[in-house]
Amino acid sequence: MKICVCVKQVPDSWAEKKLTASDSTLDRAAADRVVNELDEYAVEEALRIVEASEGEVTILSMGPDEAADSVRKAISMGAHAGIHISDPALHGSDALATSLVLAKALEGRGFDLIIFGSESTDARMSVVPAMVSARLGLPQMTFANKVEISGSTLTIHRVTDYGYDEVQSSLPAVVSVVEKTNEPRYPSFKNIMAAKKAPMETLSLADIGLDAASVGLANAWSEVKDFAERPAKAKGTVITDEGNGAEKIEEFLVTQKFI
């Protein structure tokens, strides 16, 4: 089983995030950079699948030079190899460009499964796995909280409002997993050392057969016109409970016509 896990380097989810004033792209320097939390579930799921049978897990990421750290970090959970697509022309790429780049990089490599986290904690669009599935013409097996493989049949539990759908497809397929699908492992010392030596391909746009005119900020399918930080909320009324706290909330809810 050859599995590729796509990961994204994002600002730490516990930190304040900002846009850059000059070009309205994410200010990557404003916060610590980490592997997108939800992608850790994807790596864990991939490792469990190959551990239960056999195979290799490759980590794929598109991002600036620093994103190589996140590829190594993900490998150190126990994966075998990394692919990092880095090119100055990629700066400001939107989801359509990202999905195009990932699909190009994945094409022809013979992966049986391509696994994503269901969303990134910065952009939170949740569209890239579906887009990559569409571009590669592979079954879209997304929002899974359970992944099972039996022979060449893949079965997932797709999380829905009412519970879940049990969905089946053949392999290869594109999977995304939701938070809490599993319990991601911490990298062991042995795997951290192994990750330093794991094979890593660093590819430019030209290496994957794309030209700069199909990606990046200037060629994005959508553009940010302007942005502003939300003005701080006007200070509300805060009282200390002296046995009358509930009564005061009740009065407030009445004046606001909630009750």
Partner: protein, 317 residues
């Protein structure tokens, strides 16, 4: 006036509130046309017409039950090429975002997710980074595909009626690549859906345990007809199911009223609720950052304040 396609979210013909909100939003851009896929169109037609839809495109068939996301995309691709709409509006649900993503790829158009407003010239307003930053953006290539959050606009009853137009649904290879073999419903609480609810009552670490949710948080929610939410601290501790987590990695809610009990208000949580219209806070710690968002806050023990409040709300009925 150009048509604006609105994908209707429904449950076997019972139209979700967000669908009516999107029709109201579409009316600000062009002529709203509803796109109804799956069973139940007959039951929905009058409601959709009464909320501004001039046309209801209906595609029904086994495909919409057997397969996920792709059959809906196939219908929209067909309608976009035939009608050249000014925009396609889709609810910002998990399915909706995936429909939008695939549609954007198929018609080579830009996609914007989680809009809270869309202007007449199709500029979308988004609250990003958990509402800390307000962004205006525009699709620059193709037909704008925009997903819109629930509770962004009030539905408008127009008293109109819609014309039904049936659309033939063909099952593409991409659609049939996945097959739904079983639909499993987990038990419903009878409370409103968290992401759609007008009022959300949430509990955090201060609730102290699962019995705190059962005995304190849920009764207040039920007195107000509210949905129950929980902070990540509470769901990580196993006090409340994970699907009710409000925050950066959970649900984003924007209700009329958000009641936060025993929640300190770390960025992780604020990111999921800070666009709520009105926020009421109960917390023991006067320095908790959640008080910065409070329209009304009580520094006190939620275990006495919240049950007292529940009794008072119930007594008014």
């Amino acid at each position: 006036m150009a048509e604006v396609l609105v994908l209707i979210e429904h449950s076997e013909g019972t139209v979700k509130k967000v669908a009516l909100e999107l029709l109201a939003m579409a009316a600000g851009i062009g002529e709203p046309s509803a796109v109804f896929v799956g069973p139940g169109a007959d039951a929905a037609l009058a409601t959709l017409g009464d909320h501004g839809a001039k046309t209801v495109y209906v595609a029904d068939g086994q495909a919409f039950l057997d397969h996920v996301v792709v059959p809906t995309v196939d219908v929209l691709v067909k309608l976009v090429s035939e009608k050249s709409p000014a925009a396609v509006l889709i609810p910002s649900s998990a399915d909706g975002k995936e429909v939008a993503g695939r549609l954007a790829v198929a018609i080579d158009s830009g996609v914007i997710t989680d809009a809270v407003a869309v202007s007449a010239d199709v500029i979308a307003t988004q609250n990003v980074f958990g509402g800390a930053t307000i962004v205006h953006s525009k699709v620059s290539k193709g037909t704008p595909v925009i997903t819109v959050r629930t509770n962004s606009i009030a539905p408008v009853q127009t008293g109109g009626s819609a014309t039904r137009v049936d659309v033939a649904a063909e099952v593409s290879a991409a659609a049939s690549a996945t097959k739904v073999v079983n639909r499993v419903s987990v038990q419903k609480s009878g409370r409103p859906d968290l992401s759609e609810a007008a009022i959300v009552v949430s509990g955090g670490r201060g609730v102290g345990g699962d019995e705190g949710f059962t005995n304190v948080i849920e009764p207040l929610a039920d007195s107000l007809g509210a949905a129950v939410g929980a902070s990540r601290a509470a769901t990580d501790a196993g006090w409340y199911p994970h699907q009710f987590q409000v925050g950066q990695t959970g649900k984003t809610v924007s209700p009329q009223l958000y009641v936060a009990s025993g929640i300190s208000g770390a960025i992780q949580h604020r990111a999921g609720m800070q666009t709520s219209k009105t926020v009421v806070v109960v917390n023991k710690d006067a320095d908790a950052p959640i008080f910065d968002l409070a329209d009304f806050g009580v520094v006190g023990d939620l275990h006495s304040v919240v049950p007292d409040l529940t009794a008072r709300v119930n007594a008014r009925k």
